[in-house]
Structure formats: C-alpha cells, structure tokens
Amino acid sequence: MRQPLLVVKGLQTHFELRQWGFLRLGSVRALDGVDFTLDAGESAAVVGESGCGKSTLARTLLGIYRPTAGEAWFAGQSLARLQGRALKEYRARVGYVQQDPYGALPPFMTVRRALAEPLIIHGVRGRAERERRIAAALEEVGLGASPEVQESYPHQLSGGQQQRVVIARALLLRPRLIIADEPVSMLDASVRVEILDLLQRVQTEHGIALLYITHDLSTVRHYAQRVMVMYAGRLAEQAPVESLLARPQHPYSEALLAALVDPEAGNADQERQVPQGEPPNLLNPPAGCRFHPRCPKFMAGTCDRKEPPAFEPFSGHLAACWLRRGQ
C-alpha cells in the first residue's frame, strides 16, 4: 500500500489587509479550508480559475506563506512547525516549477550559476561536485548535449529551454515532491507537450510526487492521476481523472467541462453554457456554498445557508455539493 507523502487538513491561508501598517481592514481568505492527501509518486492536478487559491496552496505548501490555520504533514512532519534547519531541509525535498520560465531564472545569472545556487545554499561543497550534479541535471532534462547552455543567460534560451532549466533546478536537490504551478501555460502549444512529458518522465522515473496546478483541464487527462477542482479557496471536487471527466459531481466542475472545447470544426456554431457572474471577492465570500450565486442548480435555503461538506458519491470521488448529499 502506498504511503501518503502529503496530508493536508483544513489548510487555510488568509492575507490581512492593513492600512498604515496597523489598521486592520479585513482579510482575504485566499485558501480557506482544504483537505487532501497525496501519495508518494502520485501525480495530482489542481484545477481552477485564477484567484481560486491554487497558487496560494502551492506557496503555502512550499513554506513561502505561513498557513493561518489547519495542518499539512509532509512525510509525517508537520509543516507549520518547521523552523530553521528543518525548514531548509524540507525545502530541499520539495521542488518548484513556476509558470513563467523566463522570470523564474535570475536574469543576471548564467544557467550554471543559477543552478549552483540551490547547491551552495544546501551546503554542497566542492566546485567539481556541484558541476557534476549540474551537468547531470541538465542531461536529465535534455539540455546536456550542448555545453554552451551552461554559459547562457536566460534571455538567450527559448521558452522551452528555460523551463527545462527550471525543472533541472527543481531536480538538483533530489526532491520527493514537485509542485508545478502552471508549468506550461506560457509556452507554445508545440512545446507544452514536451515539457509535460518531461515532468511526467522524471516523476515516474524517480518516484517523485507531482502536484500539477493548472487552469487547463484539457492537459489533465494525460498528465495526472487525480484531479482536484478548486473554487474560491476551497476544493469543490476531487476524483480520479477518468471519474471526474465521466461524471462530474459539482456544478462548477460541470461548467468547467462544458466551457472547455476540443478543437473541432463545429465549435463555431454553438454557444457554450456558462454560469453567470464572476468568482466572489475573497475578502467577503458568500455564505454557504461559495458557488451558489452562480450555480444553475442553486437550492434556496440550503446552498446559501450552510457550507457543504465533502460527500463521496463514488469511491475516491469527493464533491462538496449539497446535491450529492443523498448519494
């Protein structure tokens, strides 16, 4: 049986808005109670619109933001209590791949220098040892063949190459989890698949768990085993990919799937079903189910009163929607 690598329970990250450094104006509930587990070597996708809290989730798990409440355990260690050396150690265990590959590399450092940074920080002494590990990592991501890549500055590389360097950097410290936040959304269609393939390959080869954060459901099918749909700081639904695609349980997931098109000839002839309105302001989110103001299946008196817990209509398929209460 697989060990859960990451256990997240009721995780909340709020941002306080203050005026003049002390007057409290309120707090943005960017991440507001998220539960899930991630097994070692598993790949799970987090899907949602911008501002739904998926990047906040990534940053909280990376230890960049401190959670306001709730807990996350990584390999049995509590994340909230990590300090000093242990936190640094943890950071070596978690790799990070960002959306903008150009921005993710210091523009004034060569590739070699940028890759040496994490090694230096984590005390890899000896230039030769560092060079060896850098070369190996570049080899791994398919950039090893050309030695001049190491001497290049980020702006001299193509988007795909830049993202490969970023992945190499994430692999350098031999992580057990890679968090990839929209790793391909700024790349061209022809390159996207290659980068996703690369991520998938290193993930399976090294048994690394992957948290793949994306707004693009269409890539999910081939590159993740499980999907979590986020809306307004909460998980609306989580399920194995095939199950979610075949039988979405949350109206928000349904809407996402309906809005998404595969390129076909007839698309231009029909309008899509789109829920009205925009995602709520997280400074003051609606009571009850956060999707209820836009929900086509809104049930007055229920959805706007109480927050739906996660029901499990099918095994391993959780949906936070009152509609699934009876199943």
Binding site: E49, S50, S158, G159, G160, D188, A189, S190, V191, R192, V193, E194, L196, D197, H215, D216, L217, S218, T219, V220, R221, H222, L245, A255, L256, L257, A259, L260, V261, D262, P263, E264, A265, N267, A268, E271, R272, V274, P275, E278
Partner: protein
Amino acid sequence: MTEIPLLEIKDLRLSYATERGPVWAVDGVSLELRRGEALVVLGESGCGKSSLAKTLLRILPRNARPPGGQVWLEGVNVLAFPEERFRREVRWLRMSLVMQAAMNALNPVIRVGEQVAEPLLIHRGWSKSRALKRAAEVFVEVGIAPAFLSRYPHELSGGMRQRAVLAMALIAEPDLVILDEPTSALDVLTQASIMNVLKRIKRERGTSFVLITHDVATSSELADRVALMYAGQVVEEASATTFFRQPAHPYSRLLMAAVPRLHQREKPVGIAGRPPSLLDPPPGCRFAARCPHNSPACAQDPEVIELADRHRVRCWLPVGGGVP
C-alpha cells in the same frame, strides 16, 4: 462572377530594424476574407501574427519599416492611403481592434465610458451624451452593466475590462473587427462567455472578424476560415472544416496532434525543435528543419498551391505526390 472580398491582403511584408539587422516579422502574407466571415490567424509566439494585426491598422512601433504589399478593403488599397486619410476613413469606422491585454488597453485616468464613446465623438461628431447613451447600449450587448461607464478602468475586473474593450471595438459598427488574442489572459469561463458574445454579434450583426490567436481550441470557436502562420509566413489557409479535419501542411498536422484534448484517449505529441530566427531565416521551407517529410526539394522556397477552392498550402509535398 466572384464577389469582391471584404479584406484582401496581398504579399504583405513588414520588417523591424534591430541592432543585428532587419527582422522580417511578416514575410509575404496573402489572405482574403469575405463579408460576414471570421478568419482565424493561428500561430505560435513570434510567428508574426500580432505584427500582421498592427500592420492592418498601421499602428506599428517606431522601429518598424514601412510595410510592403497591399491591403485591399472592398476593392480599395488602404495601405496606400496617406496617414491622415487612413485615420479618418478607415480606423474604427471600417476596422477596429481588440487588444490582447485589456488591462493596458484602457487609459487609466479616463472614465471607461468616455473611452468607449470616444470614436463616436471623433468620427461621427456625436454629442457626448448621445455617444454615452449608445455606449450604454453596447455595454448591455457585451454583458456589462451600464453603471460601469462612469468607473475608471482599475475599478473593473479583468473580464469586464475585456468586455469594455470589445464594446469600444463595436461601438462604431465597423465592417471588420480584429481580435488580437482577446481571451488569452482570461479564465476558462470568462473566455467561453466572451466567445459567446462574439458568436452572437457575428450572427446578429454580420460583422466580420479576424481573430488572432495561438490557441487552437479558441480558434475553433469562431473560425469560418483558418490561416496558420509559421515564421512570418502563412503555411496553410483553409476553411475551418478542412483545417480541423484534414489539414494538408505537415506543420498543421503536427500542431493538431500536439493539442491536448479532453475527450481523446491518445496522448498529444510535441514538435521537436524551435522555429527559425526571423533575423536570418534559412533558405527554402522554414519548417523543413522540424518536418518529418523533409526532402531535398525543401531547400527551395515552396510555392503556394491551391489544393481546392480557397484552400492554399505553402509546401512541396502536395506537388510531389498529392496530399499524403
């Protein structure tokens, strides 16, 4: 008798002066569009599609050299117009533009309504209140409450801003609206709802569109016709049906195979390599280096071949053995 196309681009060329020499962003592009049609110009970043849009409206950056070729708008070559005549007669009245980043397309210090109504004041000489009233109508049409007319751009959400920019493009009822990546910065649901607005306007008003995008899925949402660009050139131009079902150019086929699809079991396949530099493109077919069908013939510039009515391909392959 063939109908006069609404827009006909003939051998359009555009280069930017850079330190290392001219960069040919648009290199001999020919396209045509009939009234009421939507043409999608599809291509990856740096292929010259945005330069094409800017050339059509003649809003080129300072380092651009004067474009070559012709742009015929209902039988008149507007590219030859002097600047002032082009401004008075073509801009916004005949052709309007929706920009990629709506956030930046609105002047931050002027109320949204004034900006949207401005073309009517300038080109039609309407009074401000009349123009604002019209703006309110268009706002409703694209799905924003008219109350937002008196707001400043930063008080609007991203989706609303994009709608406002769309309203601005539609307000003078031009024949042709050029959409440059209108939804790429938006979320899936907002994207779908804006595409719905565009479809409705096309259906109800008969407006023609040129949609410029890198996103194959988005392109299928509006296209009657598709033109695929690669390294400054159009490599294939076809009806949407033909393009999405039986693309002829190897690049088109590889690109279609690289698109991840939700409802398809096969994994997408990437295209190895990267596009050539437009600074000093290789002779011959520009896709040759990445093409699985690369042959010695590809060292020569391929001709544009009309495979069927209004289906053109820039490739040697159909000549050498028909559509493979």
